[in-house]
Symmetry: C2
Subunit: 164 residues, 2 copies
Amino acid sequence: MTRLVWCLLSIGLLCLGAVAVACSSTSSPSHSDRERQKAELMRVDAEFSRAAQARGAGEAFAAYAAENATMMPVGEHPAVGRAAIRKEFEGLPAEATLTWKPFAADVAASGDFGYTLGDYEYRAPGPDGKMATHYGKYCTVWKKQADGRWKWVVDIGNASPAPK
Amino acid sequence: MTRLVWCLLSIGLLCLGAVAVACSSTSSPSHSDRERQKAELMRVDAEFSRAAQARGAGEAFAAYAAENATMMPVGEHPAVGRAAIRKEFEGLPAEATLTWKPFAADVAASGDFGYTLGDYEYRAPGPDGKMATHYGKYCTVWKKQADGRWKWVVDIGNASPAPK
């Protein structure tokens, strides 16, 4: 009987340990896990900018958008969903380019939610026909999708002074 | 012996159940939990706007900011930290008011991270001395602090058309 009690006690302790390990690994990632996730989100955002160069900003914004993503364009009402987002880029001059680079990122403890902050450059012909550069900054909120890929859910930016 | 095997098996299954319940409750909140957290974040954001009326926008933005929060003001470089954030509001006319109202919110599965989207109105005297209203929208990213209170970590907005 004493042996059974010890056996049960040991199993109980092992189970408590398993609960602790399982939960800490899913809800509170280690410091290095979180740093890895931030770096991953910075990489995805930089890849998103390269996609905008390769395929055009409208296609890239639609491809990287989650279902019902909300774009908040300067001077306009929010555009919700891929079709409305793609439309935001229609009518831009063919020579126009939009490039950006993230300078910060953070992710939730659950690793399913995060944001990137960055600087953008929008180049387009001015009224005199010469290319002009407009500088700005942005915040993009990201959610990890069921397939494990990060897609953006909110994108908003505004003007910045020209860099010194 | 058979009794012992059954006993161990039952304990094992109970433990697996405990792991599953414990983990789902910390890393994947139920649908109603998440809805409750979203509603809570909307309430905190609305309370933040009321604080801006009562104590002035500069004081409210500093009080609701997390350590090293990043404010991204239109036409300016980011302001990082409470002192820099407070400074952003200095020199505004005494009659100026900033009010806002969130229209959407979402939170991470871990409940420690979220955002609100909303519309703001900034009222200040125009060049003719008459009060003029400027409309805009914003995204505020929030992080739950160690004491369980939500504080903002990123705030960015831009102009919107006047509501119809």
